[in-house]
Symmetry: C2
Subunit: 284 residues, 2 copies
């Protein structure tokens, strides 16, 4: 057993799947989950994702040697304050948040030397949410980006070992660089998917039924992310606004440019724009 007690704060898709993976790989003697919703915790217990559930962070982190925050990023930044208050000496604290700069900065600012914090971002997930949708192999084979800071102290190898033990590949990035990359590779696509779904259905557009009947795989793929939980993404959007906003403005400008080129029948310009896009995709 790698840990005596693992505390999972936030038992949604990410936290619930992580708890399940920890139990399945026998990495802890005891897994406790902490959440707001008693209904969701009950589902988690019934599905045997957890050994125990509580709505109280103090109870969850008591005697835990590993604490992982799996709540929306703005919530988890606040919860760090509670966690450091109740966590026992020597505990390793991690998170699975999709933004890293503000979280790591906060941990560096407030963590006492008796605890260590390693920011982590496992690049996995589905558009579903809640303990009901947790799956044991969600993390398997995916990349986990670690973003150590001052508060990581000597805990990075231990953190790396944990994520490898649940089957992940492990990489390392500076938290600032992480947020800049992920704004492009994940956060912008997510917001575009939400906006696309709204642009095509509704006033001035067509009905959901018409769209369903007369669309192919392309639209399904482009709007799959629109199912993702709004609460998680409003937090991410605000936490990483610095990097996301310029990209939103860039794509909005390009879409207006395309509208102009179409209106002016600038076929050659349009074709060149599309070709340049295809060349980038080919390099990926």
């Amino acid at each position: 057993m790698m840990f005596k007690k693992v505390a999972i704060i936030g038992v949604g898709l990410m936290g619930g799947s992580l708890a399940l993976a920890v139990k399945k790989k026998k990495l802890a003697r005891h897994v406790i989950g902490c959440g707001r919703s008693r209904k969701n915790l009950k589902i988690a217990l019934n599905r045997k994702l957890l050994d125990k559930a509580t709505t109280d962070i103090a109870e969850a982190v008591e005697n835990a040697d590993l604490i992982i925050l799996c709540t929306p990023v703005q919530t988890l930044k606040k919860q760090l304050h509670e966690v450091i208050h109740y966590a026992p000496d020597g505990a390793l604290v991690m998170d699975v948040g999709s933004t890293k700069e503000a979280i790591v900065r906060e941990a560096d600012r407030i963590f006492p030397s008796r605890l260590s914090f390693v920011g982590a971002h496992p690049l996995c997930g589905t558009e579903n949410s809640g303990a009901a949708n947790a799956i044991a192999d969600l993390y398997t084979g995916a990349l986990c980006i670690l973003t150590p800071g001052k508060a990581s102290r000597g805990a990075l190898p231990h953190a790396r070992h944990f994520w490898k033990s649940i089957g992940m590949r492990v990489g390392k990035l500076d938290p600032l660089f992480h947020d800049r990359i992920l704004a492009a590779s994940s956060h912008l696509p997510q917001l575009v998917s939400y906006a696309l779904m709204r642009a095509i259905v509704g006033p001035g557009g067509v009905t959901a039924g018409e769209i369903t009947r007369f669309s192919g795989k392309g639209l399904g793929d482009m709007t799959r992310l629109a199912l993702s939980p709004a609460e998680i993404w409003s937090d991410i959007a605000i936490e990483n606004g610095k990097n996301i906003v310029p990209l939103l403005k860039k794509i909005a400008k390009d879409l207006n440019l395309l509208a102009e080129r179409i209106t002016k029948h600038q076929k050659v310009n349009l074709r060149q724009y599309f070709e340049a896009s295809s060349r980038i995709k080919q390099r990926m």
Copy 2:
């Protein structure tokens, strides 16, 4: 045999796959393909998609009882003029273009009574192109939307029977309505995919390598369409500009609105926007 000679004008992914399906289902005694590129035609012959290949439309349509135009939509609109000049009495002419209003209007205007035209839009395809990528079951199980006009005369049942024979489900739409729906369900998502790929990689963004390393399934799905052939899509964009441009402006406005809400930390408004999008997707 349903037909003596089928002429496929444009032997790319769509035309090549259609030729292959016609041969596989034994719907014609003879399949001839017509294209600009001798190299591509050679590939088509080597892959046995065709019985014969030519670069000459007159030769292709001579004695053909079924002629199907599979070229980019602006090209095929022009080719209708050549086709009606050389096609034998009684021939059925169809197309597989992704826009229908202008094509059907042109056919209605120019077709002599000795020929019939039925506009068709098979909702299938991949992001690949050329005869090299043609596949026999591209059309199987997908929906083919027929958009008959005045020039269809009595040929609609015959057309329907053909597409059913190659394994498609067949629907019918008014050409104007078709273009309005497809602008939303297919054309806008395609243009957004091109623009997304360009927004995230390049000046102010990140490199293709970084993106590849640090992205998940979401980005791959959202940019898959960016591989689609530029020539086909510049034609579609201009042909259906009337319906596409308002949607482009609508989504651009929304993306700017999201940028503003993020900048102003309007978390509740953001969440409501995302939730409304999820609800639409759930109805699909």
